[in-house]
């Protein structure tokens, strides 16, 4: 998967977790927490959805990398390199 595809995957997961949020205009560099009302339960869901969809394991100490869209995509590039969108 390339950067764009990974971004699409995250968008899909976010819309599943927070269906009432309008995701158009989501800024890649601003923390999700500031743009959407996400809490720790929602972050766990991002991790769990990635595990469910692509069998990616994300250890708890790495959750910090998931704060913005940009950092999440960056973090996932090596993990999703061989995955197909």
């Amino acid at each position: 998967m390339n950067t764009d595809q990974i971004r699409q995957v995250i968008m899909k997961i976010l819309s599943r977790i927070a269906p009432d949020n309008d995701l158009t205009g989501l800024k890649d560099e601003v923390p999700f927490r500031e743009q959407m009302e996400l809490d720790s339960m929602d972050f766990l869901d991002i991790v769990m959805e990635l595990r469910k969809l692509y069998r990616v394991q994300i250890p708890e100490e790495d959750y910090g990398f998931l704060s913005t869209m940009a950092s999440t995509v960056q973090y996932l590039i090596p993990k999703l390199q061989t995955a197909t969108a």
């Binding site: 927070a18 009432d20 009302e37 929602d42 766990l44 869901d45 769990m48 595990r51």
Partner: protein, 463 residues
């Protein structure tokens, strides 16, 4: 071999089950009773549908609200706002000698009522509300502290203190006289800051949506499957033995049976001391079907919390029932688009669990009838006389609650000491539900979600 076996198909067990099933964990819920529901159940009697437990769903929020417990749990369970069909209340009150405080789902009214009836207390009241709003009640590391002490620092009039505590205790205190402050905050937000709602169809709708979701994600549900024993060796659970003798193996067990009740299933003698002491607060509830709507009699309130004793006493009474205080609920008085088919009044009062547990069967029925009449007489001081309109009556007691839920003493709010982290002496046995500490319809589901997330989903699946 299951990843997880969940004991009890109440809202907490089903919510935990949805989380696990959604993330593809092989999960099985085992339920002793012939139907789902647990402490928030329903039944049919003489062609009438009744709710048990639920007077109202607390924690109401308007559709589309992004924060708060209700939106959190809908997101976690992948449910939509429409699924629960929550219709807001008409208005409720706390009625004490000489003063009545009204409240709705708009908190401003309650604040205004306090200012009007207790002008010297309003500044303290506002300080207390600010403190409540800042308190993170979902933090599992909160220490237990006395809510009465904290509230009395802000509010000096004992009447107002009692009037604030009355609905919160009636709707969720497992402890007599006082509450843990975190529990107090949960209930204050749930009742006064968020408020009441109800689906037109009652608790059935919520149960149905939740169990459908669980099944849709692949969860297995076994009714009439009481657990005889939780099997373990070397400090680890290996599964459960059912009352039928059948054994089910699992990597984890989550129990919503209650803490003392769960310890019994582990073959640990009924523990006499903390932390596994069962609760002792229970209720008798009377249900009246009417030949008219409560509104036709001039009764338009959703819920009235009443007390006419000088001080409000919340404890298991020495008498079979405490007639000084109670709760009047009319499921008709919500803002439905179409009215319910029939008028209903439910009146609930504190009961002495031992008395009702130990009555011989023939006396039990007669006593239930006699006390039902007394409860109504007591409640009539706070509502119009509806007795000539009653076409059907039912009542349940602590004994009924224990029979159908297996919760000791009919203690609907469980043990006085909550085990917030849900951990036990066995590393892969967890507690959820009433004795984990999040109460009410919304709280119980959040409890199941929290325990599933924290102990089962965060850990990488070993499948």
């Amino acid at each position: 071999m299951y990843d997880t076996i969940i004991i009890g198909a109440g809202l907490s067990g089903l919510a935990a089950g949805i989380r696990l099933a959604y993330y593809e964990r092989p999960v099985c819920i085992v339920e002793k009773h012939t139907t789902i529901g647990g402490l928030n159940s329903f039944y049919r009697l003489r062609k009438r549908d009744h709710d048990v437990g639920l007077h109202a769903v607390t924690n109401y929020a308007k559709p589309g609200t992004k924060t708060g417990p209700l939106s959190k749990l809908l997101r976690q369970l992948r449910l939509r706002w429409e699924d629960f069909d929550l219709t807001p209340q008409c208005g409720s009150s706390v009625a004490f000698p000489g003063v009545t405080l009204r409240f709705t789902n708009e908190f401003a009214l309650f604040e205004q009522q306090v200012a009007e009836h207790f002008p010297s207390q309003i500044d303290g009241f506002r300080r207390l509300v600010a403190q409540i709003q800042q308190h993170d009640e979902l933090n599992l590391a909160n220490r237990e502290s006395s809510a009465r002490e904290i509230v009395s620092r802000a509010i000096t009039d004992p009447l107002l203190v009692d009037m604030i505590f009355c609905p919160l205790m009636f709707y969720g205190s497992p402890t007599a006289h006082d509450m843990d402050f975190t529990q107090f905050v949960i209930m204050f937000k749930a009742i006064f800051l968020e408020g009441f709602a109800r689906p037109h169809e009652g608790v059935r709708l919520i149960m149905r949506k939740v169990v459908q979701q669980y099944r849709k994600f692949g969860g297995e549900l076994r009714l009439r499957s009481g657990v005889k024993r939780i099997l373990s060796n070397n400090g680890k659970v290996s599964g459960v033995e059912l009352e039928s003798g059948e054994t089910l193996e699992a990597k984890h067990v989550v129990s919503s049976a209650g803490s003392a009740e769960t310890m019994r299933l582990c073959d640990i003698a009924p523990p006499e001391q903390e932390p596994y002491q069962p609760g002792a607060i229970s209720f008798v509830e009377t249900i009246f079907s009417l030949d008219c709507m409560p509104l036709d009699l001039g009764h338009n309130e959703t819920i009235i919390f009443y007390n006419d004793n000088e001080r409000f006493v919340y404890d298991a009474p020495a008498e079979p029932i405490d007639l000084r205080s109670g709760i009047i609920c009319s499921p008709n008085n919500f803002q439905y688009a179409t009215p319910l088919d029939e008028g209903r009044v439910r009146i609930t009062a504190l009961a002495n669990p031992n008395y009702w547990m130990n009555l011989p069967q023939d006396e039990y029925i007669a006593e239930k009838d006699a006390w039902t009449k007394r409860i109504v007489e007591s409640a009539l001081r706070f509502m119009p006389d509806f007795r000539s309109h009653v076409i059907d009556t039912d009542a349940f007691t602590p004994r009924t609650i224990t029979k159908f839920t297996s919760h000791l003493n009919g203690a609907v709010y469980g043990a006085p000491h909550k085990i917030r982290t849900g951990t036990t002496h066995l590393e892969n046995l967890f507690l959820c539900g009433t004795d984990q500490g999040f109460l009410g319809i919304i709280g119980s589901m959040l409890s199941g979600i929290t325990i599933a997330n924290l102990h089962l989903l965060k850990a990488p699946s070993s499948n």
